[in-house]
Symmetry: C2
Subunit: 108 residues, 2 copies
DNA sequence: TTAAACTTGTCAATAGATGACAAATCTAAC
DNA sequence: GTTAGATTTGTCATCTATTGACAAGTTTAA
């Protein structure tokens, strides 16, 4: 659960005994590029999250957590951000939601 | 502190009595584009964070928290991610750091 | 040593972000 | 209500980064 997203995909794939070529076909990408993704040399495109969930019958909500958690972690690591960034992020999500709620009310 | 990053810039700017054109010059961008940034219609490029910190004499670490917190919040809001994403992100940052620490040890 | 699996390098094609500028709108002072 | 400065909006060419694709290399296990 602490692995990078690439390591996570590799885990899923090898557990099911798929080759890179087989999984790549399910995800509609090149096996060479899937290799790079698993080794952290390319990004996994969020547009393919649903295909990945289908391929391994995963809960989509949990997959999003894994995926975006990984994205955020990489950014924070790269820019040496303090963990307070995450607290601020949570506040800001709530702020965005409150804005939306306010707008929905006005449209009544 | 809960505002979006665009609102935050606008706050800083108007507090100091700068016009869009003036601040834009300091940040080396077009005033029209700065307007879009303040109104959440364009992204603020992370490469300009240092210029922004200088323009308002801000603590760079705090500015990063504000900036990346905003980025993460937007993503989470857009993809409707649960707040658990942030907990996972924190675990993963620590994982990345532990990897690095391990590698540093091997290189001795 | 052979075949399949995997890795790596490269590059053209594509998509997305950015800079630039014109035009419209807003605001406040006169 | 006119004017000037400030801001907003729309558009588009250009730049940049990402992606797909494929060739060539290495590793692995039989």
């Amino acid at each position: 659960m602490k692995a990078t997203f690439g390591e996570y995909i590799r885990q899923l794939r090898t557990d099911k005994g798929f080759t890179l070529t087989e999984l790549a076909a399910l995800l509609k990408l090149d096996s060479a590029n899937l290799s790079k993704i698993e080794n952290g040399k390319r990004e996994f495109d969020e547009k393919r999250l649903d295909k990945l969930a289908n391929a391994f019958d995963l809960d989509f909500e949990k997959l999003k957590i894994e995926y975006f958690g990984d994205q955020f972690a990489k950014k924070m690591y790269a820019y040496n951000c303090s963990t307070e960034t995450l607290i601020v992020a949570e506040e800001k999500v709530n702020y965005l939601k409150s804005i939306k709620a306010k707008q929905a009310k006005l449209e009544l």
